[in-house]
Symmetry: D4
Subunit: 212 residues, 8 copies
Amino acid sequence: LRKGFPEVIFGAGKTPEQVVGIATKILESEERVLVTRIQEEHARALRKKFKKAIHHSVARCVTLEKSPHTKRPGTIAVVCAGTSDLPVAEEAAVTAEIMGNTVDRIPDVGVAGLHRLFGRLELIQSANVIIVVAGMEGALPSVVAGMVSKPVIAVPTSVGYGASFGGLAALLGMLNSCGSGVTVVNIDNGFGAGYAASQINALVEQNMKSVV
Amino acid sequence: LRKGFPEVIFGAGKTPEQVVGIATKILESEERVLVTRIQEEHARALRKKFKKAIHHSVARCVTLEKSPHTKRPGTIAVVCAGTSDLPVAEEAAVTAEIMGNTVDRIPDVGVAGLHRLFGRLELIQSANVIIVVAGMEGALPSVVAGMVSKPVIAVPTSVGYGASFGGLAALLGMLNSCGSGVTVVNIDNGFGAGYAASQINALVEQNMKSVV
Amino acid sequence: LRKGFPEVIFGAGKTPEQVVGIATKILESEERVLVTRIQEEHARALRKKFKKAIHHSVARCVTLEKSPHTKRPGTIAVVCAGTSDLPVAEEAAVTAEIMGNTVDRIPDVGVAGLHRLFGRLELIQSANVIIVVAGMEGALPSVVAGMVSKPVIAVPTSVGYGASFGGLAALLGMLNSCGSGVTVVNIDNGFGAGYAASQINALVEQNMKSVV
Amino acid sequence: LRKGFPEVIFGAGKTPEQVVGIATKILESEERVLVTRIQEEHARALRKKFKKAIHHSVARCVTLEKSPHTKRPGTIAVVCAGTSDLPVAEEAAVTAEIMGNTVDRIPDVGVAGLHRLFGRLELIQSANVIIVVAGMEGALPSVVAGMVSKPVIAVPTSVGYGASFGGLAALLGMLNSCGSGVTVVNIDNGFGAGYAASQINALVEQNMKSVV
Amino acid sequence: LRKGFPEVIFGAGKTPEQVVGIATKILESEERVLVTRIQEEHARALRKKFKKAIHHSVARCVTLEKSPHTKRPGTIAVVCAGTSDLPVAEEAAVTAEIMGNTVDRIPDVGVAGLHRLFGRLELIQSANVIIVVAGMEGALPSVVAGMVSKPVIAVPTSVGYGASFGGLAALLGMLNSCGSGVTVVNIDNGFGAGYAASQINALVEQNMKSVV
Amino acid sequence: LRKGFPEVIFGAGKTPEQVVGIATKILESEERVLVTRIQEEHARALRKKFKKAIHHSVARCVTLEKSPHTKRPGTIAVVCAGTSDLPVAEEAAVTAEIMGNTVDRIPDVGVAGLHRLFGRLELIQSANVIIVVAGMEGALPSVVAGMVSKPVIAVPTSVGYGASFGGLAALLGMLNSCGSGVTVVNIDNGFGAGYAASQINALVEQNMKSVV
Amino acid sequence: LRKGFPEVIFGAGKTPEQVVGIATKILESEERVLVTRIQEEHARALRKKFKKAIHHSVARCVTLEKSPHTKRPGTIAVVCAGTSDLPVAEEAAVTAEIMGNTVDRIPDVGVAGLHRLFGRLELIQSANVIIVVAGMEGALPSVVAGMVSKPVIAVPTSVGYGASFGGLAALLGMLNSCGSGVTVVNIDNGFGAGYAASQINALVEQNMKSVV
Amino acid sequence: LRKGFPEVIFGAGKTPEQVVGIATKILESEERVLVTRIQEEHARALRKKFKKAIHHSVARCVTLEKSPHTKRPGTIAVVCAGTSDLPVAEEAAVTAEIMGNTVDRIPDVGVAGLHRLFGRLELIQSANVIIVVAGMEGALPSVVAGMVSKPVIAVPTSVGYGASFGGLAALLGMLNSCGSGVTVVNIDNGFGAGYAASQINALVEQNMKSVV
Ligand SMILES: Nc1ncnc2c1ncn2[C@@H]1O[C@H](COP(=O)(O)O)[C@@H](O)[C@H]1O
Ligand SMILES: Nc1ncnc2c1ncn2[C@@H]1O[C@H](COP(=O)(O)O)[C@@H](O)[C@H]1O
Ligand SMILES: Nc1ncnc2c1ncn2[C@@H]1O[C@H](COP(=O)(O)O)[C@@H](O)[C@H]1O
Ligand SMILES: Nc1ncnc2c1ncn2[C@@H]1O[C@H](COP(=O)(O)O)[C@@H](O)[C@H]1O
Ligand SMILES: [Mg+2]
Ligand SMILES: [Mg+2]
Ligand SMILES: [Mg+2]
Ligand SMILES: [Mg+2]
Ligand SMILES: [Mg+2]
Ligand SMILES: [Mg+2]
Ligand SMILES: [Mg+2]
Ligand SMILES: [Mg+2]
């Protein structure tokens, strides 16, 4: 049913052995696999077993591809405010990439310094889908959505303290901004955002092919 | 910035006179306007002033179009479980339609009777985007997303009582299903879902044109 | 202790008779009184009794001044996104005015259309204190605070529906933006914001006098 | 009062010594004892002291039976979506078994892949009671309840992250699905589900005997 | 799938005409129908159309049976503390009755006066299933479950004020008492409790028949 | 102002050195000091420095008395359900004792086994004040208050898991039982309950003296 | 069990006829009855039936006494900040009075103007028990408790708006102040506070008698 | 845009190497830098690299200044109740100091012992801005605001347990006290309070200069 998309292993709560075992099993029949939410030791175990395993350490992911994927046309932009949100933003980017998309990373644009955002506007506007990752008050997606007419997927992060309540403040902020076409995924769910963005970009490609 | 999309008036908390006034002003420069969250009296006032006003009573919307929109290719499916969710589902459908999309309504498919959902599967799978509207436990988007590979936009509704907490249960359920590519809008936000779905469908069209 | 500041009557939950009674009593010894959160009937009763009573209907306030206040130097800017937030913004403005301040109203600048905000930037930057009123996701104070170096007081409003949870989303958003010098008052508390802004502006005046 | 049911020790927060002590005391007068929520070290201490102690490591339980229980007629099905929910599902299964029931485990059926569920439908429908264990959005009990006419006991688990809020999302989802005869126990309370299911199965047996 | 069980119409939010229409449609093929959460006017409209309609006014229900149901063996006890919980308790009782069960009502037994509960103990213990309805702190199911070995279904009600938070206090209390075999339905969900209790009692009957 | 009551040190978050330092300072002018929420190492440090220090290990307290207190007439009963609630119950008991009261401990009486509670009823009824400590659903105070006419102080504990939400369920349960004269303190606040109970018992003594 | 205390009817949600009926029944065997949470029409119906009925309109209560109660020695102080909290404060006072206590009302002392509180300090300190009623941030009980050594019962009220969340802010504030011997009842539960205060005062009286 | 204010590094979640790296980079162009939320090891690394680094250990901050700042006129008072709130109070004080302000610390004044607060009143009243830091019930800002006419910035802390819910009780208390001109920052956000207070004090200075 999820044809064309790689199999995914959610690494959190699994031992390195379990993860290697599942990956081995999947690769018997599949071309590629994505492992998310892993720690150093899982990465080491996977790389020991699979020569081609790549550890994306900020993203806390490992990807395994027997052969490189052909990239589909169009880009996905992954926008975030700062270093704390990077793990989630990178999880989104790595997910989108292994699903066959070209990703543009715009990592240092917060609402408190809009000039930096304006400096990257052309790149953002040229994307087919924009993923916006933000913690704290989660205001960035509203601002970005006001400047583009493409689908915006907002990812709240658990970055913050006190009244951020583990990402709740950012989540609520993003849900209340949906009027302008923003849709939202779970707190810290970079994977889900990358997956949904890829589905949209794949849809575009599919329809383009149908025309030709 | 929102070129091609109609202007929208959020009717809740505005008097009929205010709504007529804003609509008149918009129509000086625009081809069409959508008024959401209105009551009978707003509809009457708008239809008295504008001959072409159409009252979508279940959707609690009025649309005003100087001339009919050309529909873009591809369909948007609007799926919901039952009569209580219809106002939100219709708000999504009317929004998508006035934004130039063809909408397929699949209104009576709940998780408690999956055979009805299976009976409409082909229609759902043929859409470019699927909007799934559900109250109570909000399980429908998870089930639908498992059966299609297209983008699914989930709309929780405030339908329910007790521990539904005004739509919170459905919202949380949908956010926790994002792994399979579901994205979520605010509780009862049919407008936002229709708007986001239209953005995706417009993106597809735009890219198809670029090919030709 | 609150010398120089007018007495204030919180009208909600009081009858017109009670409000008139309390106002009469206060005016025996005071120069001016502010009545907040009133309805049409309270305004009528107050204006019947007091010739000089002024009804600020959007603000849901009545002010009563025996003689006009001398305005202190410096301005307070009251910024908000749209018509729904106006009652709270006006409550803040009326409060600041009766406390002897000059107020600049900037009522139509939302994060979804930043060009409108940029068009008013000079006026905002020239103020001593900026009150920013916003409902929904409450992102406006973060954006404004990033563009000025003056104290910003954020007022979340209960405007919204669904996951706005009566203003909670806006409140949390604003609290999580405090890093850049934003401070926050209670949901819909235009009065509190106007009062705090006036305290700051009065402090400035007081120190200027001490220099001269 | 709980005649026929074994004594149960809730191991969490107790030392191995305390658990062994309580178990020893109970076994002076009882035939069997169930210890739940224990760690490796408790299991080791119990097995050192009691030859017949069995450690159910996934379930985090130890059972102690002087002599084997006769199984009553009828089965209890324990259904769950994946590996993360297994500890709770196994706690339910082990509880039901030591209370004298035959248990059918159906461990790998999630709402995202309904075909797997359909493949096990006959086994599920043949049970007297069905326990459904699910984390994340907790949609599985609604789907299962729609396919059987037997009592369904739903167990939300704390599996998930972000807006799962420690199992709250699954709990609310399940409570809002009760229309179709689903009843719910506390988050992660596999024991409670197994106990309640056993009470129902025991009731059936008791009435069958009364007929014969 | 729900063979033997009557069709049910959830009346809340439907007009009398809608309810009469749906009921008419159902009765074309079914023997009986239950309408819940209705007001006086719905009852009047139904009784005008259907001679045999019975209005259970405390339960806010109407039942429609072409011919009387044969009652299955065994009883269901419906226990509650006082007059405020009666509508929910009666909804449970009426639901259980139209599904073919004999119901014993024990309406005036609260935890603050345990002697009244003890006076009805024999009746409660003789039931096959016990439904316990309670608002406020929801302590009654814990106490009842301690005195019987039969399945107990707890129904929290929204009766109370302040920190009862619309039934949340009772709901949480009941979920935390599940250790002793209590299962819980949604706040005010008398229907769900009656339905689940009937499923259990029907299971008992079914197995008794299989023996004979 | 707190004459007759000992000084109290809240040990949580303080180092052993800090605690010893503060205690030394207090004992320069006071007869006795109570240290709560400490760990083994604090106790060791205090006992090394002060010969008369007594470590109440279950209560996580140390008491220091230069000379024994004369006990006032009347008793305070401390009632709880089981071993998990003991630390909080003991904190209440130790607090009440060092404040000059005689305490009766009734540690093993839960609502699931009311016969044990009835067996201790006379002792409970003979007390001047009853402290009831309970976690999970917090039903015990309601039951106890129904059987005595003395002031009942309820202490919710954080014992439990899942929907106990760190003691919230017990807290809400107890607050909703206040009709019968129950008052409530913070979650796990054994100290506050002991202190309040002592204030009541001291009031009684004081008035008795005034009569004589 | 509640000897000496009057019977109480909770009027909310009951019709005037129901209330008169219950009161009539109680007065067959009792000397006095208290009816709380009633509206004008209930008061009228009660006074029509019972000559001696007294309507306490601010307290929303009616009291019915065949003959006047002898007052026990000692006073109960009822302290609150302002007019909005009066209904709850009066409910507490009326409850304490009909239970045989002398009540001192101190109605206009808030934390924002401590001089007014200091002016009444002697009266407050002379009471046996102090009930402190407060909405908004609920800070008053902490301040009062710091100035007296008598038992303080805190009553949070639902007075406020926005982040007062129906009294939750006041409730949490009061629970977190318990260190100094404050105990708390449910939001708006003036009755419960009056009842508990009376139990304490009755305890004092009872012990004084035992001495003489 | 933030001219005159030092650059700030939020140390939480960064390694010592990262912090040293960022600080080095900032100091290439800036006169001073503030590092907040660091641990011992970050302080050591910073002091090893920078001779002039000062470790404020209670505040969990390091400051780095190439040359001392000239202090602007006027003081900022930082008021708190006790030792547990000190880290947050010190973070506020250190922030205000490095931003060029003179700070008066008033560290030991709680609402339970108002005499200590009164003893420091003159010092508090002489400040231009008052920062009040409080955990638990957060009542202190209300009391302080009632005694001064200067801007009060309230900082709730996460100090407490049980129903303090990580600072939520204090936060809500402070938001509900805003009527008297109190504004609020995020839980534990000493930095934000110091920053906002400095903005106000800088505003005063700026206007004084404009006069001269
Ligand atoms: N980082 C992630 N966040 C959310 N869901 C994920 C993530 N990684 C994987 N998943 C989902 O988890 C499934 C695999 O779970 P598992 O079988 O437990 O490894 C995948 O099919 C995805 O739908
Ligand atoms: N039903 C709706 N739900 C959410 N947002 C809406 C809805 N209808 C309109 N909007 C948004 O509200 C804006 C208009 O608001 P207003 O200027 O108050 O009429 C539109 O541009 C939309 O972004
Ligand atoms: N205002 C009140 N708030 C809380 N509980 C009350 C109140 N008035 C009466 N009660 C309680 O409600 C019981 C009577 O309830 P009812 O039988 O429904 O009239 C009394 O015994 C009291 O325990
Ligand atoms: N203790 C603190 N609490 C809240 N915000 C802070 C704190 N310290 C620094 N910040 C903010 O965090 C920003 C720096 O974040 P970063 O770039 O991650 O080091 C600063 O500009 C401040 O606005
Ligand atoms: Mg946009
Ligand atoms: Mg899919
Ligand atoms: Mg700024
Ligand atoms: Mg079923
Ligand atoms: Mg039982
Ligand atoms: Mg009692
Ligand atoms: Mg005191
Ligand atoms: Mg002040």
